[in-house]
């Protein structure tokens, strides 16, 4: 009976292998329809370039990295990955509503650290992930998952570097999680 109680308290996630099969089929369908895989960091890059265009237009068009995304006929927001990432948010919301996980804003962290610590490290981690994804030509979705699935050498390199480094430094930051 005790068991039953603890099971009913657990979040109802789907079976991970089912999730994996669905995600694999989704990558396949995406490649079949669009000729490219999924992505996520590209949408943030578009919003960065858009902001830069508004607040410092001369600097944005003079910047050799940003001006690749700048064109005369449409805003950098008008790109595939921005719409797809909007979809990620909506899909997450849909799943959260169905499984009853949408609640007011809260912070998830190890009992060994405070919410404030968790938020500071989330910010730093996000910044590093943002910088790394530019050198990596994509993040876990675009490079590691979609790249590897299409047998791209770069995808496999990014996948092993991310997870290899993760394991290498995990022990140093264990207090954040366990």
């Amino acid at each position: 009976m005790n068991n039953q109680h603890s099971i009913s308290n657990e979040p109802k996630y789907i079976n991970p292998y089912l999730g994996g099969v669905l995600l694999g089929l989704l990558v396949l369908i995406t490649v079949f329809i669009t000729g490219r895989g999924l992505g996520a960091s590209g949408a943030i890059k578009s919003s960065v370039v858009t902001t830069a265009q508004i607040i410092t237009p001369e600097k944005a068009s003079a910047n050799n990295y940003m001006n690749k995304l700048i064109s005369d006929d449409h805003s950098p927001m008008y790109t595939w990955l921005v719409f797809e990432s909007l979809g990620i948010f909506l899909g997450g919301l849909l799943s959260g509503v169905i499984f009853g996980r949408v609640k007011k804003f809260r912070v998830e962290h190890s009992p060994k650290i405070t919410s404030k610590t968790r938020l500071i490290f989330a910010l730093i981690g996000g910044a590093l992930f943002g910088i790394g994804s530019q050198f990596g030509r994509g993040c876990t979705s675009g490079a590691a998952l979609s790249g590897t699935a299409t047998f791209a050498l770069g995808g496999v390199i990014v996948m092993f570097s991310i997870f290899g480094t993760g394991y290498a430094v995990a022990y140093l930051f264990r207090k954040l999680w366990i």
Partner: protein, 200 residues
């Protein structure tokens, strides 16, 4: 036949509608698999929850084998699909930086979008960090522009580099994945037994 949009079978006008629909499916799968929780995700690095490995490896082998079948049946012209270019050293460095960011932040970009949707404030901060990081990178770009473009091998696949056919790689990944599923399930049981202060 495929890829449908590059081959003009589906008009490019549908591009953004399709983008949103595929994104919704992506976000749904991420959230439903438990990737809206940073402690679920980082469990893969500490041995208490291997859901990331299970989902990610299953997805990679399903997509790899699927791509090969689609090619075999003539449904997908592999010469027309996008192959991620390889820039050797920048991509290794990028992966290393992302690996540290993963441990500190607990999310990756896609999972943080899905986590914001269910109300995770740490995911909001992670995404603000992403934005700041990419802004910083763009502004500082002239400093390392040469490095960024170094080690360019072009849009190469594993087969281009090694001469070994894609089906061998698909089989190799599948065998590694199955071994990893089995091995990590044993590790997970042991680790969970030894961590008494939390419920998983």
């Amino acid at each position: 036949m495929g890829p449908l949009i590059p081959n003009g079978i589906i008009s490019g006008n549908w591009d953004f509608v399709i983008a949103i629909l595929l994104g919704i499916a992506f976000g749904f799968i991420l959230e439903a698999s438990g990737f809206s929780s940073s402690r679920n995700i980082t469990g893969v690095f500490y041995g208490y929850n291997f859901v990331v490995l299970r989902v990610f490896f299953t997805a990679v082998i399903v997509a790899m084998v699927g791509v090969l079948y689609f090619d075999y049946f003539g449904w997908l012209d592999l010469s027309k699909i996008f192959i991620l270019p390889t820039f050797l050293t920048p991509m290794i460095l990028g992966g290393v930086i992302m690996g540290v960011g993963f441990i500190l932040g607990g999310f990756c970009p896609g999972t943080s979008f899905a986590a914001i949707a269910i109300g995770k404030l740490d995911a909001v901060f992670f995404t603000i960090g992403l934005y700041g990081g990419i802004y910083l990178f763009s502004i500082a770009f002239p400093l390392f522009a040469n490095f960024y473009d170094s080690g360019n091998l072009g849009n190469v696949t594993l087969t281009d580099i090694t001469g070994i056919s894609t089906s061998w790689f698909a089989m190799g990944f599948t065998v590694i994945a199955l071994a990893a599923f089995w091995g990590t399930s044993i590790i997970e049981k042991r680790v969970r037994k030894n961590i008494t202060e939390y419920k998983f």
